[in-house]
């Protein structure tokens, strides 16, 4: 079966939409990546294989071909792990969903299936907005960065199994909410008060009492 998932390549400071096509067919079990991948993208096959297995799903024993289109742009870095994994899960019919058409995926996979930080999430989110893609799946660590772009649903991904559950509608992950979007500024006073209260609490043993006193100060 054929699956198509959106991802993004970075050329200079701008993102370019990359379509990750995953096809499974009968033949010798193998995963081949084509479309000008660099070493980190080629190694992605090993990470994807281990991450899918260790997330409680199975890696299909078929001949799998992954194409990163357009094939004339060089693809660098590990951020294609997540879209490739999602493509493999859809192509092997473990995840049934229509939700990936208007979505964009980036993320590096760890062998245990957790999703790691990638660079360039802000320009990627800007590209998604520009291409009128509604929803972007990013590593949980990078969600606040992606949420700087308005009008985009940013869904943080902690683990590949969470993402699979979300895509099937079993257990929804919550998008990074607008309240978390702007960095919150703590008033200077609070910090001073807390520092003072800490100083007091450590100097006297009656920490609870002292803390209340410091807050009303």
């Amino acid at each position: 079966m054929l699956a198509k998932v959106n991802s993004c390549a970075l050329v200079g400071l701008d993102g370019v939409l990359v379509e990750v096509e995953v096809d499974t067919s009968r033949g010798m079990p193998a995963l081949t990546i084509v479309g000008l991948p660099d070493a980190a993208v080629k190694e992605s096959s090993e990470r994807v294989r281990a991450a899918i297995r260790n997330s409680g799903m199975f890696f299909p024993g078929k001949r799998i071909t992954v194409n990163l289109a357009p094939a004339d742009i060089r693809k660098a870095g590990p951020s294609y792990d997540l879209p490739i994994a999602v493509g493999v899960l859809i192509a092997s019919e473990q995840v049934w969903t229509q939700a990936v058409e208007d979505a964009l995926f980036v993320g590096e996979l760890s062998l245990d299936g957790s999703v790691r930080h990638v660079t360039g999430v802000l320009p990627i989110a800007a590209l998604a907005r520009q291409q009128s893609i509604d929803c972007i799946f990013v590593p949980a660590a990078d969600a606040p960065e992606a949420a700087l772009i308005d009008g985009l649903e940013v869904i943080p991904v902690e683990h590949l199994s969470d993402l699979a559950a979300h895509l099937q509608g079993l257990r929804r992950s919550h998008p990074t909410s607008p309240a978390q979007r702007r960095p919150r500024w703590r008033p200077h006073r609070t910090r001073r008060t807390s520092r003072r209260s800490r100083a007091r609490s450590t100097s006297s043993g009656r920490w609870r009492y002292r803390r209340r006193a410091a807050i009303t100060y």
């Binding site: 400071l13 320009p123 702007r182």
Partner: protein, 289 residues
């Protein structure tokens, strides 16, 4: 900035970002984008609010400064976009490295051509550099004697090319600080006060260029300079004399006018007075030898 060791050149440069106007949201996003791609975005700050300050060591390579590599990556000048690039010990930098700064200083961006394609990175930064006047560091010092021969001094200063010096608007000498001044109880003006004055001047400039795409005086081209920087008779006479005596280039002429306009803005003056113009002229480079 030229001066003997320990006079406070580095300290002055490091306090530079504290008096610059705060970044707008668009500027913040542009800076964050560059840091995101370079993988230098701190995990706890999704949006960079402070103007960047970059001070690369003088052993930096050409590609490290202007950007490059097989997959072109932004260099230090792009990381200093909307902020300050500080090069300490300027003559120690490689000649090729420094000459690479020329085009970005003019255009505010840098184009990198590689076999994989041509890329343009933004590089609109404030360039600040510090150096000693000679290898021993004490040429022109009133207290300590310089031990360098005149030819050594000339060779040392020749390491920075004329075209690069021509692009630096403000040249200042940072003399040694004596005991009296160092132990003085009075403090200088606070950074916040200076920043407020700078922001007021920026406000004036924003109003001036409201109908154009320009943001500040530094963005002006020759046409805008002609419109905005109008001099009176005394001013014209002063510039004519300065042009002849300092053998200034056409670029230097325009830069002086722009600088004088900024000094007038900072002083809250509508017209460019002769004093503003004279201040701008005395910031031009003078060969010490």
């Amino acid at each position: 900035m030229t001066g003997p060791p320990g006079a406070g050149k580095t300290l002055l440069a490091r306090s530079m970002p504290s008096i610059l106007p705060r970044m707008t949201i668009d500027e913040s996003l542009a800076v964050t984008k560059i840091y995101s791609i370079a993988g230098l975005l701190p995990a706890d700050t999704p949006l960079i609010r402070h103007r960047p300050f970059r001070a690369p060591h003088h052993t930096i390579s050409h590609a490290g400064l202007v950007g490059g590599g097989h997959f072109p990556r932004p260099g230090e000048i792009s990381l200093a976009h909307n902020g300050v690039l500080f090069l300490d010990e300027l003559p120690e930098f490689g000649t090729r490295t420094l000459e690479g700064l020329r085009q970005p200083l003019e255009d505010g961006e840098v184009s990198i051509a590689r076999s994989t394609g041509t890329l343009t990175f933004p590089a609109n930064f404030m360039f600040v550099a510090a150096m000693n006047p000679c290898p021993c560091g004490y040429y022109g010092d009133p207290v300590r004697e310089c031990t360098c021969s005149p030819s050594t001094i000339t060779r040392y200063q020749k390491r920075i090319s004329g075209p690069l010096l021509d692009r630096i608007d403000i040249h200042i000498e940072v003399p040694r600080v004596d005991y009296q001044k160092l132990t003085d109880e009075r403090l200088g003006e606070r950074s916040e006060a200076i920043q407020a004055r700078v922001e007021r001047a920026r406000e004036v400039q924003r109003a001036r260029f409201a109908e154009t795409e320009l943001l500040c005086n530094a963005d002006m081209g020759p046409t805008e300079v002609r419109q905005v920087c109008v001099l009176d008779d005394a001013g014209r006479a002063l510039v004519r004399a300065a042009m002849q005596q300092l053998q200034m280039s056409a670029r230097a002429f325009h830069r002086i006018l722009k600088l004088a306009r900024t000094i007038a803005d900072l002083a809250g003056s509508e017209r460019i007075e002769t004093a503003h113009l004279a201040e701008a002229i005395q910031y031009r480079p003078r060969r010490v030898v």
